[in-house]
């Protein structure tokens, strides 16, 4: 990538403070597919000259998978370390591309002393669009494409954010189609509650298969997600149905970056 990503440490050393901390999350940091989402979002931030920084090596898991598995100890240990790091930098604004990080930072960190204004990148991008800051140079590339949006549980039901990601997609001027289960009735991808990190329990079908079937039912060109874990589950699901050539799974940030004519992510 042709961008040097600023870290909080470097900024602090230069006596600077970013307007917003970009919380990358474990998936966005380590998972090869999710890294592309991270880079796409950074490209957008850089392109719009937003003063941001990441924690880099000082970031740890928020503790979400531990907490949802039932391990409150591991969660609170990680949470307190993260809070200490962020409070030392005087962090006030956070944006993250992961709904799980978003939920726990926004809802569960405050009681442990971590009080920040937290936004998910769907909200963040929507605000930029509303302010007229995001202009698509390459909107035609989505003309006539069918896009279906998959609601992440931790964005949707957990925090009632249904419209922001849809508003972001509207900018693409593509045809938006809804799956059978959407918004409050959105069907889980199967990754939440730490399921991502274990084998599924015995059943007839995998949850990501069930969700992929619903997505394929509306014959989309693109399945849009706003969560790196949903992205993994749906990508696997589409591959499992041997449809990966005609159906692509993208994050909303990747689609916006493409529309802006940005590349190299």
């Amino acid at each position: 990538m042709d961008i040097k990503v600023p870290t909080m440490a470097e900024m602090a050393a230069n006596g600077q403070k970013p307007d917003v901390l970009f919380w990358v999350g474990c998936s966005g940091s380590f998972d090869q597919r999710a890294q592309r989402i991270t880079r796409a979002f950074v490209k957008i931030l850089d392109h719009l000259k937003i003063k941001y920084a990441v924690l880099g090596t000082e970031e740890s898991c928020t503790g979400d998978p531990a907490k949802r598995a039932g391990n409150e100890f591991v969660y609170q240990m990680l949470a307190m370390q993260n809070i200490e790091v962020m409070n030392n930098y005087g962090v006030q604004e956070i944006v993250t591309t992961c709904p799980h990080c978003f939920n726990i930072l926004k809802n569960e960190y405050p009681a442990l002393g971590g009080k920040y204004r937290v936004r998910h990148h769907a909200q963040f991008l929507q605000e930029l669009i509303d302010q007229g800051k995001i202009k698509l140079t390459d909107a035609n590339s989505f003309k006539g494409k069918r896009i279906t949006y998959h609601d992440s549980c931790y964005l949707g039901r957990a925090n009632e954010i249904y419209e922001a990601p849809r508003k972001v997609l509207e900018l693409l001027d593509a045809e938006l189609v809804e799956m059978k289960s959407c918004k409050t009735k959105g069907l889980c991808c199967g990754a939440g509650g730490a399921q991502m990190f274990k084998e599924e329990e015995h059943g007839k079908l995998r949850i990501n298969e069930a969700r992929t079937l619903e997505a394929l039912d509306v014959q989309p060109d693109i399945v849009a997600a706003a969560c790196p874990f949903c992205n993994t589950m749906l990508t696997d699901g589409v591959k499992g149905k041997d449809m990966q050539v005609s159906v692509k799974v993208f994050d909303i940030a990747e689609l916006i970056a493409q529309g802006q004519g940005l590349d190299g992510f």
Binding site: V5, Q35, N71, N103, R157, N159, A191, F197, G203, I207
Partner: protein, 440 residues
């Protein structure tokens, strides 16, 4: 005169006896709920009243399924309005009068008109309710709606559902027996339309026979109402009462929020800094992490369990259940209630004192580890529940106990926990590589 006094006495004894039995049932429900841990659900009273008005009284969440909602609304409105007739039954029962309100308002046309209108309304709603009840039976037994026919519904729960529907039909039948024979005996004086039509069939019957049948309907309806009252505490039908407190005590936090355990915060703070200022533990008893049994759940979880009417909307939307896993959120609620009933039975046999029976809510024929493991915490069940129950809250507390008390965790999760502790990520990556995504 003597006969009237005997009748009044019978009435008072009958109503008193049934009410006492009903009261004992309700008291047990209350005592069982109070077995739970303390938890505060009293903040933002304004929002709570609003939630109760919208969700319980206004049935807001029912209308996500409009057809079921309309059918349910008919029974609900009918149930509430029929209680008007009960006022007169009580007056007549105690004082040995007959249609007291109708005769008392002989010279006040407005009130008498209102009375006749009220009874007519009750009759119309009763006919509609009768039809809806049959529709409900059809849906359950012939259409075999999947959510009514899951494994956890076999046996008593299915029987319970049928008892409720048949009791409703029994109540309505008796209203029409009572009103139609009364209309025939009074030569249509009351002006009730529907029972007036039925009354034509009784023409030519002698007066005393008409009166006897009217009394059968009268007592039958009363018995039905009191039967329901006694039955409620033992039935899923209890939702007609508990939906109100349960929605008042709703969780007002975002659905994604899961509380931070204060007992863990204390320990972690001390672990990170032995000199940390921490709040002292609430009691001297060693802290128990998560819930194993009903005593470890909050009173709100237990109120949730008693409020559940086993409609199965949660289970129908559960991604785990949909894909054939063992988990059913409804069963979580049913098992919790069943365990409370077992505990109460054992306490009653032991003069009200609880002696550990070596069982708890996990396994022991209640909630299995496999069920708990299948949850994705997606909140679909919580979103669906028409009376704001959270099966997820119970699942999370039981999960905590499995992991933190029993170290009962799948191997993959143990690996994940170790990675989190050692490298701050669920996978085995070095924290030093966290910015490597930049380099691609």
């Amino acid at each position: 005169m003597v006969l009237t006094i005997v009748q009044s006495l019978c009435f008072v004894l009958f109503v008193g006896g049934c009410s006492y039995i009903a009261f004992r049932g309700f008291r047990n429900v209350y005592l069982n709920i109070m077995l739970g841990r303390a938890a505060d659900y009293t903040d933002h009273p304004g929002e709570r009243w609003k939630t109760m008005l919208m969700v319980a009284l206004g049935q807001k969440k029912m209308f996500k399924r409009p057809i079921a909602a309309m059918l349910h609304l008919v029974i609900y409105v009918s149930f509430v309005i029929t209680q008007v007739e009960l006022i007169e039954i009580f007056i007549d029962g105690i004082f040995g009068t007959h249609r007291f309100l109708f005769h008392a308002w002989e010279n006040i046309p407005f009130l008498r008109g209102l009375y006749v209108f009220a009874i007519n309304l009750i009759e119309v709603l009763s006919v509609l309710t009768f039809i809806v009840t049959i529709a409900f039976l059809y849906r359950r037994d012939l259409l075999k709606l999947p959510r009514f026919n899951k494994p956890e519904m076999k046996g008593w729960p299915d029987m319970d559902a049928h008892i409720i529907l048949f009791l409703e039909m029994f109540l309505i039948t008796n209203i029409f027996i009572m009103n139609s024979f009364d209309m025939a005996a009074a030569h249509g004086e009351y002006g009730f339309w529907i029972s007036g039509m039925i009354a034509h069939s009784w023409e030519g019957m002698n007066e005393s026979l008409l009166e006897i049948f009217e009394k059968i309907g009268w007592w039958g309806h009363l018995a039905g109402v009191l039967g329901f009252l006694m039955y409620l505490a033992h039935s899923k039908h209890l939702h007609i009462l508990l939906a109100f407190p349960n929605t008042y005590f709703s969780r007002l936090t975002p659905k994604g929020y899961i509380n931070n355990m204060p007992e863990v915060t204390r320990e972690v703070k001390l672990m990170l800094d032995p000199n940390a200022q921490v709040e002292p533990a609430a009691s001297d008893a060693p802290a128990k992490f998560g819930a194993k049994d009903i005593f470890d759940l909050t009173w709100k979880n237990l109120l949730d369990a008693y409020t559940c009417t086993e409609c199965g909307r949660c289970t129908a939307q559960c991604p785990a259940n949909m894909t054939g896993k063992l988990l059913s959120p409804r069963k979580i609620m049913m098992d919790t209630r069943d365990r409370m009933e077992e505990v109460r039975e054992k306490m009653d046999a032991n003069k009200g004192v609880w002696v550990d029976d070596g069982k708890n809510l996990i396994e022991n024929g209640y909630i299995s580890v496999e069920e708990l493991r299948a949850c994705t915490t997606c909140n679909a069940c919580v979103e669906e529940c028409p009376v704001n129950i959270s099966p997820l809250d119970i699942i999370m507390q039981l999960r905590r106990s499995l992991i933190m008390e029993d170290s009962n965790s799948p191997n993959e999760w143990n690996g994940m926990f170790a990675n989190l502790e050692n490298n701050g990520a669920p996978w085995q990556f070095s924290p030093q590589d966290r910015l490597n995504w930049e380099k691609a």
